[in-house]
């Protein structure tokens, strides 16, 4: 029987989300239709919007349902950049970081390479936190020329939690819009959009127990990122397309339950993670807990096992029935060095030797023990399989 400790990649479908989806599928009606059946599905959609808004501390009008995290990040980054640069051609600096998810890094780089954006990166402290002094100096340097800042709330590899209010505070001096990819944060750490000072925030459904293919971009009422898709003007005219009320309903159910359980799960998973980290360090004293000392999400344990290669570790653990992950795999399925660790200053070898263990709602002490047993068996083999 395999043990799934890769909940940050995707997590188990919550029964409430499955039920909400199944119930919604029995409806017939386009939420934009004026007749009674259209009104019924519209009501489902709007109830879902209420729930998601409440779960993340936003106003209901700020929730723009979409297909998930990658779309949300692209929309926020390109949409805000285009909006800003249209109004002032000189306002074309984007501040981001080298540890963002590819769904942020790639649109940012694309704007740099194709749309004349000037991309600059804030530095990190050794523990993976954004260096606020570095951010402050970038903002002071570029001032009104900064089109947007995009910095993630929780890092999907290391679990490092950013100080979002401090970041938006720095940006506020020049009224710079700040976007945050909160995909790895939502449902795992407390989130309050309105208190955060953010202009936009990305959420994904399948990371909180909804199906894959639904998410939301939270957009402050004051902002109007240019749309990526034009059409019928749905979702505040920011995201055209027939509204997917069944998936929205499912996402809302999952989000509501995740946030309701948040305190309890943070405590439970945090304790499990502490046990896991302590046991790993005992079993493999040379291991490094990345981002140690930083404020980290409770469900995420991230290690470097010096002298090994991630793909050998993952292969061997998979053979033992343990599903974990490393840095992000490319399209061909090849594990590269973790760009997050490289961005934090780890060496190429270290960044190619990481393993990420992420816990979720179904995780138990038994899962953790199964991982540890497997680790003790495979680590010496992985060491041996790595060319010196």
């Amino acid at each position: 029987m395999s043990v799934f400790l890769d909940h940050a990649s995707t997590t188990s479908l919550r029964p409430c989300a499955k039920e909400a989806l199944s119930d919604a599928l029995d409806f017939l009606g386009n939420p934009s239709s004026v007749h009674s059946q259209g009104r019924a599905t519209r009501e489902l959609l709007e109830e879902s919007r209420d729930k998601v808004a409440k779960a993340c501390g936003a106003n209901r009008s700020e929730i723009i349902f979409n297909s998930g995290g990658t779309e949300g990040n692209n929309h926020a980054i390109k949409g805000i950049f285009w909006d800003r640069v249209t109004k002032d051609p000189d306002c074309k600096v984007i501040i981001s970081s080298r540890t963002e998810h590819h769904a942020v890094m790639d649109p940012v780089q694309w704007l740099g390479e194709n749309q004349n954006a000037e991309v600059v990166y804030a530095e990190h402290s050794p523990n993976g936190m954004i260096d606020l002094d570095s951010l402050r100096s970038l903002v002071s340097k570029h001032q009104q020329r900064v089109a947007l800042i995009s910095l993630m709330w929780v890092n999907n590899e290391t679990g490092v939690i950013s100080d979002i209010p401090a970041i938006t505070e720095i940006a506020s001096e020049f009224d710079i819009p700040v976007h945050s990819d909160a995909v790895a944060a939502f449902g795992h750490v407390p989130i309050d959009f309105q208190a955060s000072g953010l202009t936009a925030m990305t959420l994904s459904g399948h990371k909180v127990g909804a199906p894959i293919g639904v998410g939301a971009l939270v957009v402050a009422r004051s902002a109007k990122p240019i749309s990526l898709v034009h059409g019928g003007g749905q979702e505040r005219s920011l995201r055209s397309g027939t509204m997917n009320y069944p998936l929205a309903a499912s996402f809302a159910a999952a989000a509501k339950e995740a946030v309701t359980e948040l305190d309890h799960e943070m405590a439970r998973l945090g304790a499990l993670k502490d046990q896991l980290e302590a046991a790993v360090m005992e079993a493999v004293p040379s291991a490094i807990i990345t981002a140690q000392g930083a404020n980290r999400a409770a469900y995420n344990a991230h290690f470097v096992f010096p002298g090994t290669q991630s793909d050998a570790m993952l292969f061997l653990l998979d053979q033992k029935g343990v599903c974990v992950s490393a840095g992000s795999a490319c399209q061909a399925g090849v594990l590269g060095p973790s760009h997050v660790l490289l961005g934090m200053g780890f060496s190429h070898l270290e960044a190619s030797a990481c393993v990420r263990v992420t816990l979720g709602k179904t995780s138990t002490l038994q899962d953790v023990q199964q991982f540890l047993t497997a680790l003790e068996q495979v680590h010496p083999v992985a060491l041996q399989a790595t060319p010196a």
């Binding site: 998979d318 399209q331 399925g333 090849v334």
Partner: protein, 368 residues
């Protein structure tokens, strides 16, 4: 036996893996990522190395119910195969990258990694057979189907590598049978076209591809007396025996076509001449290996057949190790054999060994 099936995404390696599973081995499929920047879709007649090929391999593995992984050998491949390929051309030789890949990647880096991860053998879709000589020694033999025989590119394997290799397709009479078997097994690659181009050269144009790595460096095209006949924009990419693309304006005195006879990297000269000057009588190489058990007295001349290209060009010869290098004296001539190519030595169907050709000597003087 724990077996690592190298799966390129083609039909041969998929059927080879299927047969290994059927033989009761504990098989795991591995696709080797050999390029840092793989193309998305397959183009031309390349058979691996794109994401589409990797996905084809994965589909086949899933169909066989075996675990599947993509392992990154792009760094080793770049160093051991691509860089070597460029350097050989720069030195005026014509390399065989598939041979290098077998020698350094598939049956070296992959095998080493497989062994250290607890596997006992590498299984590939090559058309060749491993047989025992009756005394427990393993021998590599030509495939039953001569038209597809790939024993040539495996000539670099040593006894230890043979002991850890499996070629389940070796005794199959035709490629059609493999395709039929693939279809019967429900493998989606059953009708995938064969590949024959160099995998890392997308458009199949080696000379054009080399231009990206080697600065253009023009020089003279001369005859064997040193008379200038034309100019070229870089010696790299020319190959011995080449006739096309020389762009020599004036015809030869006798009106016959001219061929590349020699590449002189130091003076940047390309020497051309008549076809008969391509006639080769002797091959020499200091870099030789034995495939399986070495002959007891290699210094003593022995009869053999020698093959200098992946397909065809096999002639009878007499070989011996003389002063630390292999000397192959051809009983009938070969034409246009470039240095850098591999000569594989056969005794009957058995692959006895191979050498990288340092010198192909002609009886006709090129004036070198």
């Amino acid at each position: 036996m724990r077996v690592l099936a190298a799966m390129s995404g083609g039909v041969d390696s998929a059927v080879a893996a299927a047969r290994a599973v059927e033989q009761g081995h504990d098989v795991i499929g591995v696709h080797l990522a050999l390029s840092r920047m793989p193309g998305t879709l397959r183009t031309g007649s390349r058979g691996c190395c794109t994401i589409e090929d990797s996905m084809d391999a994965q589909r086949a593995a899933n169909k066989l119910g075996i675990p599947f992984y993509v392992w990154d050998f792009s760094e080793r491949f770049k160093l051991d195969v691509v860089d070597d390929f460029v350097a050989e051309y720069q030195a005026g030789r014509t390399p065989n990258p598939c041979m290098r890949c077998n020698e350094r990647i598939k049956f070296a880096a992959l095998l080493e990694r497989g062994l250290s991860l607890g596997f006992e053998a590498i299984c590939t879709g090559h058309y060749a057979s491993i047989l025992e000589d009756g005394e427990g020694n393993l021998e590599l033999h030509r495939s039953l189907e001569m038209a597809k025989d790939q024993s040539y590119v495996l000539g670099v394997l040593n006894a230890n590598q043979l002991a850890h290799s499996m070629f389940p397709l070796g005794a199959t009479a035709s490629k059609d049978l493999i395709r039929q078997e693939a279809a019967a097994r429900g493998l989606s690659v059953a009708n995938k076209p064969d590949s024959y181009d160099i995998c890392f050269i997308p458009e199949g144009d080696t000379r054009q591809w080399l231009k990206e790595f080697v600065p253009t460096d023009s020089g003279k095209i001369v005859d064997s007396q040193g008379n200038q006949l034309g100019e070229h924009d870089g010696h790299v990419g020319f190959t011995i025996g080449q006739r096309k693309g020389l762009k020599i304006g004036t015809p030869a005195a006798d009106g016959k076509p001219r061929y590349v006879l020699e590449i002189r990297p130091k003076t940047k000269e390309i020497v051309v001449g008549p076809e008969e000057a391509l006639e080769i009588s002797d091959l020499f190489g200091a870099r030789y290996t034995w495939c399986g058990k070495a002959p007891e007295n290699p210094e003593e001349a022995f009869d053999c057949d020698v093959q200098v290209r992946a397909h065809g060009d096999t002639v009878s010869a007499v070989a011996a190790i003389v002063d630390g290098q292999m000397h192959v004296q051809l009983n009938e001539p070969l034409y246009g054999v470039p240095a850098g190519q591999t000569a594989v030595i056969y005794v009957g169907t058995r692959v006895l060994g191979q050498m990288t050709i340092d010198e192909a000597r002609s009886k006709v003087s090129t004036g070198a």
